[in-house]
Symmetry: D2
Subunit: 363 residues, 4 copies
């Protein structure tokens, strides 16, 4: 099932940018979770286009509708399907793309793989697909919150060459949401916003880096070998449009340290085993160790730019693609919400897997 | 199945460092593939400890035995089980670890998750688990080779702060194997080896970066959403012991470019559609585009060091861990073989998935 | 994913009897298949309630809507979501069931397993869930048809104690659809219909047996061990509401034969290897052998009856359940369509699996 | 993974009749379960050939060896691989089968599907494959036993046309093991044994029926839709060699009852909700209801007979197959052990799935 994610808490998304709808089925959701459409809508509103002057002007209310799986305000344990109708469609706006491959988009690979494609607005490769992930992630976040306090906070640490100072303290949601760019360091945020506006004015785009922190993760989530927690997080993040890299804890920079500098010494802290430092990023041997999860994701500059570009058409002939379309000049501000959603999905799934093997039977 | 990898070409590994054996079952292998134990052994020999003076002195022949799945020199399409007996065991050498948690190892997380652990040599968290992956990967590599020329080449580009110059041309196997450190740039290799020996002399360790290139990949491997080719490669790489990061194509450095600089312009090349540059790293929209796959993996410095370290014991009491044990002062030279194996496994699996959906029926 | 079926051609259903909707996502569908809503609707119309005077009087148009996955009349290879809104809801009609467990229904087990349940009309346990299966099955049937002639024909062979004579020749669709009970033997059909009306008049219900035949199945579908074709068919059939048994080929009756009588002798037929008899039911060693698939499914009498019944309530206290509700006095006439749908789903899935392993690579 | 079974407690078997070995990896096993090779051996001894004068004379000790996954007498939660070497091989004895298809065996379908086959003794289609299932099942049974008293008892109720009287009381293990045919009704057992000897004397074979009962199953195992408990049991049973049918509770015979006769009235029993009758066979709406699980499995007469048989060869030419080979004239006595093993595997897997969704989080 290439369009499903998760083993026990499983989501299956559907939908194209300019088809009738996008949506998701959540299968395996624990029963009796109090849940309203408004709670899911709140997360979708954080992801929605047009929420600030540095995102795409596409107008979409992205109104969620529950199709199944709740009864009298609670989940039933049955599949929970959620639907968002596509509204602001301009099919004609994409006629040029029927024949031409947009550089660094999925146009060429989809056409070759499937024989043809829904070319309108990227079809399935559009970031609108992530609406289903955010909706499902809202449920996962609620489960984590009610579980006793797992908190997930993603935020922007870099836009183009503007790098915010290292965040030491777990940022509050208010700090992240304070600026349109979702960087909790106000001075950096201001510079990032200016940079995004500046490149947009030239019809260009920029990339960025998102850091995600999670606190309150119990010890024991993740599997020793293939399904290490960091492996599933890496897959989750690289499954997002426009991502080019993932690192956890010390990451690529950790290569510069020696083992004696890099090792996280164990200490006893409030009666719990912890580590004095956190270069492991909260995971050891593939399994959460109770420290903060810390990882970063690199996003490339948006492939859609308002400049003419050389390319080839379906027959391989040289042609030029005219500058047009609606897009985010930088995806990271809205991607923050999606990173959080995918993180929540990974954690709930692993929590259930952990419990299944280790809590079902007592010997 | 936390110890399985792959959807259609599936491997399931078993075994601990100081248990009776390590091994793997390959399920879904295409039938009639000519295959001998010697071919698998050749890859295991590249991975084997003790092959040079910069690897662990543990002596293991790592002799492979086929337990099933071949008949008269060919695969039967039935499960192919492969076994390697553990030989050089020194159980007593690990008595100290029964009670103490080694920093940045899996000791604490395994014990907490499973209630107890096989502490000898890391048990399941030992890199010996990767023997099964390399054996299975040898089969996948042969399939790819016979498919018409997919070639996978991984090599070391960084050890500690020694960074080899960017490799432009696809390195030959001979260039990679020319030095014990498996860096195809001889001058850098020499410095890397010297650095590894130097840190080992002090009982310390260093990390490094491996780059992997693949050429000959057909267009169309990978799925649009969750099972993007880069997502599954990221998961494969982050499932390896000691990895902290993954990036594809432009990676984290791509953030510094604008969209107009980063986009890979399509061109017509020998009658095929290709891209003038390869910042995409061979994947667009999650699907291979026929260009070289290019990705990099960061490995942390080996956690085992020959220095006394502070830690806590099972009861949370402060203690000290004595310097002892056999280990690689730097894992990247041998990890090259494992990175190649995992890459081969991902590609064969996706090739089968692609064919299943797109080649089974004609309309 | 407890609500998904199929490994490569995967369906995920959602929805409750009296919730907003029922639906399905088909993932892994081959691209470029010509497909219209009308084709799917035609199968749903065969399944629809109220189509004859021996089915439930519940009025449901069961109008299908494609939510994604087609473009210009063809499948795109992306998830195809299909929605049916529930219309004829009488929520108040089920108030009694909130507190009482209906005998031989899922009321008690759902409540105990999930802690509470959507009691309206059976909720998720309602046969309305099979709408998604039939919709997805319509797609699978079309694939099989276009593949060169796989034909699936299910029909009723027994209602209560009325057993139709053994069907020798593959029945036509017209023969099956000729009577409301879908038994191709007209005299038996007449008696079956009379029996159904008779038990309904007394507020009672009866069960029956459906036979399913498939011709044109290529040799090679099915896997040697766990995923034998008959094993997956058995699972598919026992996953249908009200089923109590499955048998293939000679089935339970085959026990009465000796090996020398039961073995299907191989013969050469039109240049093809075939069998002189078909006690195997079209499967040998778990794999289709090119003969007709022949299997039978037993359905119990409908649990809902219009008679007062003793039972207990949520607190375990004795109570009585009043006679009321709308239901089919015998499920087999409509179940014929569902049996065909599930069969088609199993075959397409196994066809893709077979091709993936055996047709992707050539050695 | 066509050679794997189970979602959370997963087994993967390997091996051919006359290859080096047969074996199994158990993945997802709960940690800390006390387990010795002797316990597994005991179950294998019940399945072993040559244990009585009505089974095959093939001599196999079937000695189990643990390859991984235990430490100091307990499971570690890591993959537990188990190996049995094949001993009594007579490769030459099967030369005739290289070219000829044995009637009602897997010879033709394997050859067509995979292009060629390991013809020696049936290769992968041999019942020796079930050794891995029995070994894994022994672990599942131990888990169920320690869980507080789930007891699984399979036994023979029919051989050829000899049908034992309905068993009312749950039979003891001693009653089942009292006779070589494993029918707990001594008079019937005697007749069954005589019949088996009689058909064997003529080089022929017979089939039979096995009933399986399970008591102590908690309420709540099984999923509402595709993964109903009876669906997974049906799949498990139809995945066994030589099976042709499965029925649960009232089964095919239930068709003869009206709903008012068939419904299981709920009653209050020792403070628990139970049913007055058990036509449901212990499952309602796909979920266990706490009553005894009761199902039956039909096995065809052994395909290998000591009589000359007509057939065709690889080229489709008519030929004759000479009477030879070692085989069980009736498979049901040994299949009892395999039915129990598969049942245990299904139950443990569903127990873990149930706990994952319904016990991990509290709201």
């Amino acid at each position: 099932m290439p369009n499903s994610f998760g083993k026990l808490f499983t989501i299956s998304t559907w939908g194209e940018s300019h088809g009738p709808s996008v949506g998701v089925v959540v299968d395996g959701c624990p029963p009796a979770l109090p849940l309203t459409e408004a709670e899911v809508q709140a997360e979708l509103d954080r992801r929605r286009p047009g929420q600030s002057d540095i995102t795409t002007p596409r107008k979409e209310a992205d109104t969620i509708e529950f199709l199944s799986g709740t009864f009298e305000g609670r989940t039933t344990g049955q599949p929970l399907a959620m639907l968002v109708r596509n509204a602001d469609q301009r099919p004609g706006a994409y006629d040029e793309m029927r024949e031409k491959f947009r550089p660094s988009h999925a146009d060429f690979t989809y056409t070759t793989k499937f024989g043809f494609r829904d070319h309108r607005g990227g079809g399935r490769s559009s970031a609108r697909e992530t609406i289903g992930r955010v909706a499902a992630g809202a449920i996962a976040r609620k489960i984590l919150k009610l579980s006793g306090g797992v908190e997930i906070r993603a935020f922007v640490t870099q836009v183009h060459d503007i790098v915010a100072p290292t965040v030491v303290k777990f940022p509050t949601l208010a700090q992240v949401e304070a600026t349109a760019v979702r960087c909790p360091h106000p001075a950096s945020a201001e510079r990032m916003i200016a940079r995004i506006k500046q490149v947009r004015a030239k019809g260009d785009s920029v990339g960025g880096v998102i850091e995600c922190r999670v606190r309150g993760v119990p010890v024991g989530l993740g599997e020793p070998v293939f399904d290490r927690l960091e492996a599933d997080l890496a897959k989750a993040m690289l499954s997002l449009p426009a991502t080019k890299g993932f690192e956890i804890g010390s990451g690529f920079g950790g290569v510069l340290l020696k083992g004696s500098q890099h090792n996280d010494v164990f200490v006893s802290r409030r009666g719990q085993v912890g580590t004095a430092t956190n270069r492991s990023g909260g995971v050891q041997g593939g399994i959460s160790n109770g420290e903060e999860l810390v990882f970063r994701v690199a996003f490339k500059p948006t492939a859609t730019i308002l400049q003419n570009q050389r390319t080839v058409d379906l027959r391989g002939a040289r042609t030029e693609l005219k500058a047009r379309g609606r897009h985010d000049p930088c995806v990271v501000p809205r991607a923050v919400v999606i990173v959080e959603a995918m993180t929540a999905l990974v954690l709930v799934d692993h929590w259930m897997r952990h419990a299944a093997q280790n809590k079902t039977f007592k010997f």
